[in-house]
């Protein structure tokens, strides 16, 4: 593949976007239903492609975290298909009119939601992202150019092939979904210059990729996905609830961006709380990188509970572990928690556990992050969990969209003005 092929892909996407932009909701939902069915019917070929990717990944020594992201199972495919069906069941954002009003001039002015146009997504080796993004783009009337990680190439290509076939069968333009299969890195460089063909670029991956894309791309970019997430257990927390929440936030899936990285515990509750949590975390093999105070509480219990304790290093604060590791710090006040989060957080998901109303309200108001929680696990930061059906990514920037990006976040609007001959004085 050469850059001219990529330009041609961009032009085909532009044409497909124009056609898809005028497609009715019924046609788009029918295509989504067929995609969900095909994901189940064609499981054998999809799983076979994924098994080949997994074998190579294992042989190449990919980490457990990365292999977990690469893996497709019948259950995961069924989950992805269910997400596609829930996208189909959501209202179509395209065509919605909002802010309609008649102004003193007599003009009726309103905004009508329209697709963004062509979206390009660069992501790592997570095959499910192929379907999530394509389904959301299709429903919101956008064409998409996909490029997943090299390690997931066979899985992603198999999924993209299913998508294109089914979209064609449904009478919509196949080029609404295109996959860049050539792993040549220089193609990404070229993609970043295709300002006329691409309306939005969504990078999903490590901090390095996202920084590279944000600095080089000539078109709008939504950055995100780096989650350095804190849970702060306030002095007024319900202790049992705080154990459940911190356990879930770390252990449920430690490899996703909304997983707990740092636990902050108020001094007044540390001696009671930390041993209870540490026992649960120990059962799940969570390693704890503790500050001196937390260590003083837990070290005496280390033998009895088989805790994996070590002193926290400075770079543990603000680190995204993506593994069964947590940094733990004892602090003296809500203000200290807010300062720590402002300094080390990545603006993704932050939680307080407390029964104190004023502390809850201050935390909600003052923490500057995409998702701010009271008394719940940060693992809920997810498009489906927030009622968006699925997500194209989680934005940690403030521009255009923040947090999980679902259908509406893939649209723009135009102003429509209904006049009766008005001229401006």
């Amino acid at each position: 593949m050469i850059t001219a092929d990529l330009d041609a892909m961009g032009q085909r996407a532009r044409l497909a976007a124009r056609e898809l932009g005028f497609a009715g909701t019924k046609a788009k939902d029918r295509a989504l239903g067929l995609i969900a069915a095909a994901l189940l019917e064609r499981q054998p070929e999809l799983l076979a492609a994924n098994e080949a990717d997994m074998r190579d990944g294992e042989a190449a020594g990919m980490s457990v975290a990365l292999l977990d992201r690469l893996l497709l199972t019948p259950e995961r495919l069924a989950g992805i298909a269910a997400d596609v069906r829930s996208v189909a069941a959501l209202p179509d954002p395209v065509g919605e009119m909002f802010d309609v009003r008649t102004l003193p001039s007599g003009l009726t002015v309103g905004r009508k939601r329209v697709p963004l146009g062509v979206i390009a997504a660069i992501y790592e080796s997570r095959p499910n992202v192929t379907i999530d993004i394509a389904a959301l783009c299709l429903k919101s009337g956008n064409a998409v150019i996909l490029r997943g990680g090299r390690e997931a190439l066979r899985s992603c290509l198999a999924l993209a092939e299913v998508l294109r076939e089914v979209i064609g069968e449904a009478g919509l333009p196949q080029d609404a979904v295109q996959y860049v299969s050539d792993p040549d890195r220089s193609l990404v460089d070229h993609l970043l210059t295709m300002r006329d063909a691409i309306d939005l670029l969504v990078p999903r991956g490590g901090a390095e990729l996202i920084r590279f894309v944000a600095e080089r791309a000539t078109m709008p970019v939504v950055t995100g996905g780096i989650g350095v997430c804190h849970t702060y257990v306030d002095a007024a927390a319900d202790v049992e609830q705080a154990v459940r929440i911190a356990y879930n936030a770390k252990v449920r899936r430690p490899t996703i961006c909304n997983a707990l990285d740092t636990l902050l515990v108020h001094r007044d509750i540390a001696a009671e709380y930390l041993p209870l949590l540490a026992r649960e975390w120990a059962h799940a093999d969570v390693a704890m990188h503790c500050d001196a105070e937390a260590l003083a509480v837990l070290a005496p219990l280390q033998g009895e509970m088989a805790l994996a304790l070590s002193p926290a290093q400075e770079d543990d604060w603000g680190k995204e572990f993506l593994a069964l590791v947590a940094a733990v710090k004892v602090i003296g006040s809500l203000d200290e928690a807010l300062e720590h989060i402002a300094r080390y957080g990545s603006g993704h998901s932050e939680a307080i556990v407390t029964e104190d109303y004023s502390h809850a309200m201050r935390f909600l108001n003052e923490v500057d992050a995409a998702a701010v929680y009271v008394n719940a696990s940060t693992q809920f930061t997810d498009g489906a969990q927030f009622g968006l059906g699925a997500e194209v990514g989680i934005s940690t920037q403030k521009f255009h969209a923040r947090g999980p990006m679902g259908l509406r976040e893939l649209t723009s609007y135009k102003w429509l003005i209904f006049g009766q001959g008005q001229v401006r004085p």
Copy 2:
């Protein structure tokens, strides 16, 4: 001024933004009221600064269009003050909760509107922009770094000084408004790299500036302001209304971006319509660059009506004239009009004049522009006219905001999640 000073300015803006983000509506509205009053009370010094700029501009041979943009008059200052008061009267977008719902998990999830943070604006020599942008940023809780054109330096500095003094008097952080007074171009280059200090960059100016900024900036940018605007007079137009609308769209203020550039006229109505419009335009000294068919209609009347006719050149289509010049083309169908606009339009403001319902609806649906009109002058594309109070600019991109950008367009949101101990299954 050196780049380190600009970095320091960025840090001060960041601190001011944090303080302003928590400021109450009452405090912000009070400051805006004081600003409006100061613009009237301190007219002499503001007009004197502007006169100095105007004298130098005239001496330097600035064009009539640019001098018109530079000019402040008592009437224009009063208009600007009125816009500031109307911004104060608008609801505060900050703190609004929307999309709040309780999900099957029992979590109550919603979005709360928050300021973007720090906004930087680079604009040309239009002093009023200084106040428009600062007022909107103040009300929406954003700090702003301003840099106007060199030719307006004294006017802009005088206005910025008033802003800073009044904001301080009102008990809000003075550094919520800062002005980069050093005309050194390399400071702009540095500004474009200040991704950590600036959340949004708004360039307002010529195509070259906007392209330069969009390609170089490392932070989000809203581009716009280039308006190649068409008015299409359909075969089914009310002829008198179409004359009024096209006259207003061109003549009211020919130097702004929403002014008519190209008039498209359906063949069936051209012989009746064009002479009526041409007579009106001739009174206002509008030069008409006509295609062969329009010329054939109008040339015989040239002497009688004192028309300024000339044959259109290829580069007249898609040109933003910013002057009393219009390109005129006779076409055969609505489809042809849609194609012409898709090819030559800049996605700013486009109008159809028609009494045909289906044609009106097709035009509204199919034209891909920030503002699409039926039976009204494109000169209405403006934040105040659209009910936004004022505008920070007119976006012609689809990302984040499109068309006039008012208060809401200067905000982001965060997700708030109210739990009762939920953990994710």
